[in-house]
């Protein structure tokens, strides 16, 4: 089995969790990493800057139709749903799902439907249940699933909900998750590295 995309969902406590995760990834990490973090809709590019300091990978908010290529950490922009198509992103302003836009479930479901068993899903700390149904979809499509160990999470609600929905998910610390996703087999994808973002 070889993989093509990693999607990560988090909410409350997400910033430090994300920092730890991307700090654990090597500079030649071979998969595009897509991050959906709940935040206020007026929030600006702050998150991008706060993460960029921790990785040689290129961190940027997604613009519509940006190609999905390795070497990048793609951040779902505030107040849009982020949909994954085969090879590129699409944004949507459809209604919030369970009060969230971006919704982790929406991104995970679209990644599972577009990439099937080539997708990897990661649920980190958070104070609601978003992401669990999407993680189940990734699992049902044959993808690889990880959940942050609830006792290590700033807010265990989201990891607990994900484990309940996907009992087979690998439950690990963030450092272990980073280590494992950094060593999954990568499916070669055409297209230049880092061409997707500014």
């Amino acid at each position: 089995m070889a993989y093509e995309i990693v999607v990560v969902g988090t909410s409350w406590g997400g910033l430090s969790a994300l920092r730890e995760l991307i700090r654990g990834l090597p500079g030649d990490f071979g998969l595009p990493l897509v991050v959906v973090q709940h935040r206020h809709k007026q929030s600006n590019h702050l998150l991008t800057g706060l993460l960029q300091d921790f990785t040689p990978l290129c961190v940027a908010e997604v613009e519509d139709k940006a190609p999905i290529v390795p070497g990048n950490v793609f951040i779902a922009p505030a107040d849009y749903h982020l949909l994954v198509d085969d090879g590129h992103f699409s944004l949507s302003t459809d209604e919030p799902v369970r009060y969230s836009r971006p919704s982790i479930d929406v991104t995970f479901v679209s990644a599972a439907d577009a990439y099937g068993d080539r997708s990897v899903g990661v649920v980190l700390t958070g104070a609601n249940a978003d992401g669990s149904r999407g993680l189940k979809r990734i699992h049902d499509r044959g993808g690889l699933t990880f959940v942050q160990a609830p006792q290590t999470a700033e807010s265990p609600t989201m990891p607990n909900a994900a484990i309940k929905c996907v009992p087979d998910a690998r439950v690990l610390t963030i450092a272990e998750i980073a280590q494992q996703i950094a060593s999954v087999p990568v499916r070669a994808v055409q297209g230049a590295r880092r061409s997707g973002v500014q």
Partner: protein
């Protein structure tokens, strides 16, 4: 239509047992059928989002496959109307992205003052929230009386809503905050009258507005404009269709005319990027330069 949702069906996607290749075939057939029978062309819409919207409709109609939805909408006009609403309505807000309106006031308004008469096109205006936002801004800048705003959408039902100028009262707190952040000069409540659960906006705001049906996919340019707003509409199109619409916008702008896109839309993936210059580092305000 009260159909109990099965828990695994509420994700606006197919059951996992559904064959993805077959799903794509069915979606293409459905969109082809809708185009040939009704003339609405959704064939070049972004796949991931149209797929999600189709499954939402399938769920709401209590069906279980794309082909069932195809049969229903081809034989039942009212089902087609419901689907048309799902596919064509874009959800927006008054003064969405306040920073955009600040930039518009600071950069675009001074340019507009140099024109004796201003023509603006709101392409894909949906229920009109951004049209009213622009009208309010131009009114406050003293420009509304020398402006004509053409507000168009593919869907006549949403245009009727836009024309009526009634928006949900429970959104007014959010809109007021947006308006203040957008650099509004008055008290937002001066622009509307609360009635029951609606806020009726002053009809004088639309004295310069023409609402009219126009299909970005199939219709041609109909005038020359100083400004074209098309925010968060093109995200629903695939890249090829985006390029076609950009050609339409390019033709429809006067030289040095302004193109305003949504904050996460970009000319970067279109072949028209070299024809425009950026007016702001972050907000998607472009000026036709060649």
């Amino acid at each position: 239509m009260a159909v109990p949702l099965k828990p695994n069906r509420s994700l606006n996607g197919p059951p996992v047992s559904y064959d993805s290749e077959l799903e794509r075939v069915e979606i293409e057939l459905l969109l082809e059928g809708v185009f040939r029978h009704y003339g609405f062309d959704f064939r070049s819409y972004a796949y991931a989002s149209i797929r999600r919207r189709l499954w939402k409709r399938i769920e709401a109609e209590g069906l279980s496959s794309i082909s069932e939805l195809q049969a229903l909408v081809l034989h039942d006009t009212s089902a087609m109307e419901r689907l048309l609403l799902d596919l064509s309505v874009s959800v927006t807000a008054m003064f969405r992205d306040p920073g955009f309106y600040v930039a518009f006031r600071e950069i675009v308004v001074p340019l507009l003052r140099t024109y004796p008469f201003i023509r603006i096109w709101h392409a894909g205006c949906s229920t009109g929230e951004e049209v009213y936002s622009t009208a309010i801004l131009l009114e406050e800048e003293g420009l509304l009386d020398r402006t004509r705003i053409y507000a168009t959408d593919i869907n006549d039902a949403v245009l009727q809503q836009a024309r009526a100028g009634i928006f949900p009262l429970n959104r007014m707190q959010e809109y007021t905050e947006n308006y203040i952040r957008a650099g509004g000069k008055k008290s937002f409540s001066e622009y509307y009258t609360a009635m029951y659960d609606g806020a009726l906006f002053s009809p004088s705001l639309t004295r310069s507005v023409v609402f009219s049906q126009h299909n970005l996919v199939t219709d041609r340019s109909f005038s020359e404009f100083n400004v074209i707003f098309c925010r968060n509409v093109l995200i629903y199109f695939d890249r090829q269709l985006q390029n076609r619409v950009h050609a339409l916008f390019y033709e429809s702008l006067v030289m040095f005319g302004i193109l305003a896109l949504g904050s996460k839309e970009s000319l970067r993936f279109s072949q028209y990027e070299p024809c425009y210059e950026k007016l702001h580092p972050r907000e998607k305000l472009y000026r036709k330069a060649r």
